[in-house]
């Protein structure tokens, strides 16, 4: 599998580290809403199809990427930097 790093270009998947479900929303740091924290820490989507994922190019530029990957075909629809990506609000 190849992932096209926006900085480094296409690289083998072995250069990347999977960093989890990209749909997770971290509660505000001071939040005491345990349900929200539990959902953030433990709940994961597991779709058969397109999935939002976070990958780190740990064997390259080390940037974190938002990757939309089809879990059935391994086809990668898009890859963008996680930094400055969408849903920046809600994170303090």
């Amino acid at each position: 599998m190849l992932i096209t790093c926006p900085y480094c270009g296409p690289r083998d998947v072995i250069e990347f580290t999977y960093q989890g479900d990209g749909n997770r929303e971290r509660p505000q740091p001071a939040s005491q809403d345990l349900d929200a924290w539990t959902a953030y820490v433990y709940d994961r989507l597991n779709p058969a199809g397109d999935h939002n994922e976070i990958w780190q190019h740990s064997g390259g530029c080390r940037a974190h990427l938002r990757v939309v990957r089809n879990t059935l075909t391994h086809e990668i629809r898009s890859t963008t930097f996680a930094r400055g990506g969408h849903k920046a609000e809600g994170r303090s």
Partner: protein, 997 residues
């Protein structure tokens, strides 16, 4: 008569004679011969014994699909089994032996299995060796008992046990166009793409490029096809943008147009050049792949079709035209299609007599009739072979009238005298790579073959691979594919002109002749047509089940010959058309791949070594090294005759009495820089760092998001916006990723850079009552007294002329300092400290003494921060700030994480004065015969010179409340049982008076 070398012809170098041995006998061959062709030329017809029945077997094919002639090649002590003799190029000194026979190939006692033919049918082993339902050998246990004997009787070659001294390598390659297969289609594709300026790789599993051109006997552009191929290869070789990979099998097609290939670099050489790998694993990333992998001729299924002397028609043609070897003198052919007629003519031209062409089709075209008469062959149209005769070589065959529509045989059997029977059951495109790459193959009723699926990756097919079996089509499709792959559309010169024998590519839909006797479908696994029908009768209707039950197609040839005939017989049994039975998907690897090539350069120690700047000093000064992750660290600096325990006890004792020094360069070090660095650290550590003064250090604890403990270490504030974080050695990488994740994904607004500086600094920790005096005697540019350098203070100075940074902190519990210098000066500073320590009896100490002193102090490491413990479990709750949220703060107080009966850190003292073991269990009552009811386990243990006892740290249920109570250690694995006392983890100097000075 036996097979023999022709007087002329072939692509071998008759001037070069090569000597080799097979089963101990010496033979000669010529350069360009394979082991198969050379042995055939020497009259050898018997190449192996079959898998199950030990039937004598000869050559079926001439290429990679050969199922019978598997040999073991010996190189010194190293043996490589199960290689097709057709793929072994001979070299002087080659030693090959046959397989699966005892004591010799000609006289094999295992052949007695043939008498039990009816018994050893499909599923025989599963059914017979299932064992009784009760008793010591019930069910599969009986199978496991019998398996050893069965495996010895039925099997292929034996793997060797000697270490393989060969070198293997991995190579990464990139290209615009990868062309797989170098027949006329592949050559045209490579040429067209290369002419467009594309970066091209052309790979072929054979030693010589050209594919069928090397033996087809056709003419291209007025010259023999083989010469045309050689000329084209010559043109390609002259291009900088072309890489030619002969002897290279592309065996895997993976996501992202990444392909795996195995190049046999020196297998055909007597000796490898210095540094030359035996095999090279190519990982190829291709823009577009042109699949020009050709096709396989299919065997026909009829009684005795496995007798030595029965061969695929094109294989015989190839032996004659490419190697100048005739497989027989009186040759008969048995076919369901036109291609065998061309083979007949080729063999006739090479000097053999063609005694008969037996064609299942009643209506043979006039063109074919003409070819038959040119070959002076008797044509038996509407006939089939129903039996073969002979032992270790063919002597004759019987034919009978045959109705291709009904499959019915009629009339008298006619006996034909022949020493070679060539069969052609039609052709199957070699679609393996396309199948690996994605969708299912499609059945073509006209071609009676599975054609490649629609591409799901970027590949283009050409030639026989697509079902276009003629060279004219191959050339046109090859060029079109090459152009398309290179993105070109340049005006075209005319295509090379091909002169070839005529022929209809569509065979008659006949796969099997049902007559009395064993008719083989899978030669290598000894699966017969009757086995397939038996599997159907027993209810195995899915093709996947059929495959597993009969093991059809599961041998090393992976069904290259048997796939389609097996399906056709299954389809008939089911009363369904072939496409409804379906086909199994081909998976990598296409051919067997050596483990060595996959391991490639990761030989010997497998992992790279990480060395500290003082590594060579440690080695030169008697350190026994210990591998900690990738790092190598001194375990002890043993004196002659000392045990490990004696050494670490001496080192730890000397440190507590005077001073000791240890290399701490392996600690993870991360530069945390930027205007928001302090804020960031407040969020990732449980305690406060924004309040830390410049020039001071603080011990910090990190939790994971789920509230469990993650890592600990000291972080030094070197400037207002600059921190040096240290982590445990083992967690350095994980902590770095953790920080990067939060900066990149969660808090992108923070202006903080984190950089691994582990390797920038050499670190030496010097501790003990005399440590300060030693430092004072060698440091310049700063004082190190209590005022200038208080506990957790940092100063800058010089040692031996180089800048150092000194922080007063302690892991050993003694007055101690960590001295950091640029890594390139590490040994220099280390030696200066050793020199300065001489008057004080400074000792060097290793990991064992380090561990001993930390156990005495009750400090935690990865053994206690094991991913299951909380800060409270480790009595670090004093570090949990209530003034701010931090990573893990919201989750750490969950009910289960604050329960009083959790495993908590305690100290343990052995009351029987015997060593304790890590992993030993703590129990309330001792029951050696039936150990149970663990209260927890020991995480670290040592002999404590400070206490004069064997002590340990342990995680024990409700441990804090158990201080002062007795318990037992229960370690049945190591038979260690005995009384212990549970105490505080702070064994030694609990108020820290020694380190505070």
């Amino acid at each position: 008569m036996s097979p023999r070398r022709t007087e002329t012809g072939g692509r071998i170098d008759r001037l070069r004679t090569i000597r080799f041995t097979f089963d101990g006998a010496t033979y000669t061959g010529h350069a360009g011969d394979t082991l198969a062709s050379a042995l055939l030329a020497n009259g050898v017809t018997l190449f192996g014994r079959s898998f199950k029945y030990h039937r004598p077997r000869g050559l079926l094919a001439a290429g990679v699909e050969e199922p019978n002639a598997l040999v073991t090649v010996l190189r010194g002590e190293v043996r490589e089994p199960n290689i097709a003799a057709t793929m072994v190029e001979i070299y002087d000194g080659l030693v090959a032996v046959s397989q699966n026979r005892t004591p010799s190939l000609a006289w094999d006692i295992g052949a007695i299995n043939q008498l039990g033919g009816k018994i050893l049918s499909a599923g025989f082993y599963y059914k017979t060796f299932m064992g009784p339902v009760i008793g010591p050998l019930k069910g599969t246990r009986f199978w496991m008992f019998c398996e050893h004997f069965i495996r010895r009787a039925a099997g292929l070659g034996k793997a060797g046990t000697a270490p393989d001294p060969s070198r293997y390598e991995r190579m990464n390659a990139f290209c615009d166009v990868l062309v797989v297969g170098s027949g006329p289609a592949g050559l045209m594709a490579a040429k067209a793409a290369a002419d467009q300026g594309a970066r091209v790789i052309l790979a072929d599993l054979e030693a010589n490029f050209g594919g069928s051109a090397n033996w087809s006997g056709e003419t291209i552009d007025g010259m023999p096809a083989a010469d045309w191929a050689q000329r084209t290869v010559g043109q390609l070789a002259g291009n900088d943008n072309v890489r030619l990979l002969p002897r290279t099998t592309v065996w895997g097609y993976y996501d992202g147009n990444t392909l795996a290939a195995l190049e046999r670099v020196t297998d055909h050489k007597e000796v490898a050049a210095k540094g030359e790998p035996r095999q090279r694993y190519w990982a190829i990333r291709a823009g577009t792949v042109v699949l020009a992998t050709g096709s396989f001729e299919r065997p026909l299924v009829f009684p005795g079709n496995d007798r030595p002397g029965v061969m695929l028609a094109h294989a015989a043609e190839r032996y004659a035209n490419e190697y100048g070897v005739l497989p027989g003198q009186r040759i008969a052919l048995f076919t369901n299609n036109d291609s065998a007629y061309r083979s007949a003519l080729a063999l006739k031209k090479a000097g053999a007599a063609i005694v008969a062409i037996i064609d299942v089709r009643g209506d043979v075209s006039n063109e074919m009739r003409k070819l038959a008469s040119e070959a002076e062959a008797e044509l038996l149209a509407g006939h089939a072979v129903v039996a073969t005769e002979g032992g270790k070589a063919l002597t004759g065959l019987n034919a009978q009238r045959f109705d291709a529509t009904s499959g019915a045989l009629s009339g008298d059997e006619r006996s034909i005298h022949a020493d070679s029977l060539l069969m052609s059951g039609g052709w199957s495109p070699t679609i393996h790579l396309a199948s690996q790459a994605g969708a299912k193959a499609e059945w073509d009723p006209a071609r009676q073959a599975f054609l490649p699926p629609k591409p799901t990756q970027r590949w283009i097919g050409a030639g026989a691979f697509t079902g276009s079996f003629s060279t004219v089509e191959a050339i046109a499709e090859g060029r079109a594919a090459g152009l398309q792959a290179a993105g070109g559309s340049a005006p075209l010169a005319s295509l090379p002109f091909v002169e070839a024998a005529p022929g209809d590519p569509d065979p008659a839909p006949v796969f099997e002749i049902k007559a009395k006797g064993k008719s083989f479908v899978d030669f290598q696994h000894d699966v017969t047509a009757e086995d397939v029908r038996l599997a159907h009768r027993e209810g195995f209707v899915s093709v996947e089940h059929l495959k597993r039950y009969t093991t059809l197609g599961m041998a090393t040839d992976q069904g290259k010959n048997s796939n389609v005939p097996g399906l056709a017989i299954m389809a008939e049994a089911l009363g369904k058309p072939i496409p409804e039975v379906g086909t199994t998907r081909f998976r990598p690897p296409y051919t067997a791949v050596s483990i060595g090539s996959l391991a490639a350069e990761r030989f010997g120690d497998l992992k790279p070594e990480r060395l500290t700047p003082m590594h060579d000093w440690h080695i030169a000064n008697g350190a026994r090294m210990y591998s900690a992750g990738l790092w190598y660290r001194p375990m002890i600096y043993g004196l002659p005759g000392e045990t490990v325990e004696q050494a670490y006890v001496r080192e730890a004792r000397a440190t507590r009495e005077s001073a000791g020094i240890v290399d701490v360069s392996t600690l993870g070090k991360i530069a945390v820089q930027g205007p928001d660095a302090a804020e960031f650290l407040d969020r990732v550590y449980t305690n406060m760092f924004s309040t830390l003064a410049v020039g001071k250090a603080r011990y910090g604890l990190m939790l994971r998001e789920d509230g469990l403990a993650f890592d600990d270490g000291t972080t030094w504030r070197l400037g207002e916006q600059e921190f040096l974080m240290t982590t445990t050695t083992a967690n350095a990488g994980k902590v770095m990723q953790h920080l990067e994740y939060f900066l990149d994904v969660i808090w992108p607004e923070l202006k903080v850079t984190v950089t691994s500086v582990t390797d920038e600094w050499a670190g030496a920790a010097i501790g003990g009552p005399n440590a300060r005096a030693i430092l004072a005697s060698c440091v310049t540019g700063t004082a190190v007294d209590n005022t200038t350098l208080p506990f957790m203070g940092i100063v800058h100075g010089r040692i031996a002329g180089v800048p150092v940074m000194i922080c007063r902190l302690s892991f050993s519990g003694e007055m101690a300092f960590e001295v950091y210098s640029g890594a390139g000066y590490g040994t220099r500073v280390w030696e200066a400290l050793i020199e300065a320590g001489k008057p004080f009896g400074l000792v060097t100490y290793g990991l064992e003494a380090l561990g001993t002193m930390r156990i005495e102090k009750g400090h935690v490491t990865g053994a206690e921060i094991d991913g299951r413990t909380t800060a409270r479990d480790l009595h670090l709750d004093w570090m949990l700030s209530k003034k701010k949220p931090f990573i893990g703060s919201a989750m750490m107080d969950r009910e289960g994480l604050i329960a009083s009966d959790r495993l908590q850190l305690v100290g343990v003292v052995a009351l029987d004065n015997r060593p304790l073991n890590g992993g030993g269990h703590v129990v309330e009552a001792l029951d050696e015969a039936n150990p149970h009811d663990s209260l927890g386990h020991i995480t670290a243990c040592c002999y404590s010179p400070a206490l004069g006892k064997y002590i340990a740290l342990a995680l024990v249920k409700g441990g804090k409340a158990r201080h002062g109570t007795r318990a037992f250690v229960s370690d049945p694995l190591r038979n260690r049982f005995g009384p212990i006392e549970i105490v505080s983890n702070h064994f030694y100097d609990p108020d820290g008076s020694r380190m505070h000075g």
